[in-house]
Amino acid sequence: MAVQQQVSVREDAHAFSPRILVLSTNNISDPGIDLAGSAHMHYPPTVTTIALPCTSAIMPEWIVHALEQGFDGVFIASDGEECAYLRDCAERSAHMFETAQKQLKERGISPARLQMAAICSVCAEPFTRYMHEFSQTLTELGPVRKE
């Protein structure tokens, strides 16, 4: 039994685990992601985060760049309606999101590799859930390099 378990662990290690880039915000979603860690909630270690002041600062070409560099998916942990800077932050982010998806399509990359959801400063549980679900989606899509 013990031997079998070891074997299956080793097989898992070789399985594809999608690389996810998260773009968070310093005051809102990044504290929510911090909270997930503080509560020792687990999500795949292939998820890495870059924090910015505001979702509206994200350039669509950064998303394209990430997927071309080998990330399998990009997740925008947005301010949603809670942005302290810009009243129309959600509209700006939606526009950026659409532009990026268009640019991905033009390059033959599945737009499903880009996701966005509002993550609040205490949204630890939703964040980890999104990471598991997105990982699952990307696993089904397969590695970006094969597209």
């Binding site: 503080s38 270690p45 600062a57 302290a84």
Partner: protein, 576 residues
Amino acid sequence: MNRRKIGVYVCHCGGNISDYVDVEKVVDAVKDEEDVVVARTAMFTCSDATQQEIYDDIRELGLDGLVVASCSPKLHTFTFRGVAKRAGLNPFQYTQVNVREQCSWAHTDDRQGATEKALRLVRAGIARTRLLRPLEPTVVETVPKTLVIGAGIAGLRAAIGLADIGLSVVVVEREAEVGGWVKDFGPMYPRDKEGRELVRQLEAKVRQRENIALFTSAEVVRKAGSFGDYVVDIKTHGKSSMTMQIHVGSITVATGFDSYQPEEGEYGYGIDGVVTLPEYKKMLDAAEGSLEYHGRPVKDVAYIYCVGSRQGDDGPHQYCSRFCCSAAVHSALELYTRDPSARQFHLYRDMRTYGRYELMYRESREKGSTYLKFAEDEPPAVRKGADGRLVVTIRDQLTGQKEVEIPADLVVLVTGMVPRENDALVGALKLPVGRDGFFNEIHPKLRPVETVVDGVTICGACQFPKNASESVASGLAAVTQSAAMLKQGRAELDPQVASVDPQLCTDCGVCYATCPYDAISPQEGHEGRRVAVIDPATCKGCGGCAPVCPERAINLEGYTQAQIKAMIEGLAREVV
């Protein structure tokens, strides 16, 4: 580009990191990276000993870049900026890498995965640091004067506090009288002090102070300038209508709330005898002796809670108004003092008489109040009965879903607070408004009265529903914060703001309208051309203008296009 000299410090955090991440392996893997001249681990990077070690390295090795991989940047960014500054390194040539909250603690089940991730994060930090340039904070002189907008209980108390701390104060109140809601209140919880008496005392104190100027029937119509020296236009109404201009260093907004006004027919509103909580409070405060309505004694009262609050996922008011449970229970106690034999029924979804107000709830039950719980999807119904009295029907969740009919002389709709219509002021001050319509602070715990507009603080119920004690407490927090901003006479603004590369700018004009803070404007004279220029003292550093520029001429310091791309590459590189 010249070679950089970067120092990298990876923290054990006493095991919080090193129990789950092989920190030695991370240091081994980065010590030979390009531009890295020193890489070490430390048991506690934030300890005095390690701070000293970093200080010595900066001085002895002439570091021009610093990477600290430890906890979340929310904790020690200012600590390590301080170390850098003391050692003569520009504090903005340092990157904090989060390998605790966003690595070791989130992956306690996967040491190899966590170690690889930590390595990627540190590499991204090095990649960013390589491209950082020294930044100097914008220093502004500050005028030792504060404008308080709104003379309710929070604004009045804040004005007194500001004056006593040695700042000049201008108070602007839209109404003809000061005191806001509280000036009309009789006994208030806790301790039953009369609202009108509290306001009388505060107004007297305001008028005693020579360094407070109070303008009633007046409004703020325009704000120009920037933090430290805002130029504000104030317009007074009535007989002596005039506009004046004042200079202030900071602004405290205390514009209060409006009470929720039910729709006709909402819980029977519109039927004679169905009243809102403020209407009921007014009746109680005005009554001499026992309470009467249309000349008839009020013996049976039904309270319906959460009216205009917690309106489900689609409603305009999804939040809990916090104060109303306690305020309604307090009113019930007030009725008992007038008529101990009154029969009072409380129809609620959830009772939240938080903190010490639980004692009022207990007292109301001891005095005979009956509490019945209704479900959100089955609210109580109010109608006029055959005898002309009101009848409230409720399916009580606590007694086997029984339908109960309650005859009542008065039905009180326990209405909550809603944000006040303040579009002109929001436009003039560029105040950040949240999803619920109230004003937004930067951080509810760490920066609870500051807004993203430098020098503009918020307090009282314009921020979220608060009772009078909480409003005054936040008013005093705004006093402290304003004093911290103005008492030194000068202030440093974060230099991580946006700027335009004039070589790339074509003056297309797209960015001018995109900044709600009006930080971007056209300026003549760059090699004979007109280009966009961003005022560093007005820019809030959100970076929202950068993706708008078709030429990609705008960069946000600390998050430039080159820096973010380099970080992405650092994260993506194979670990091997």
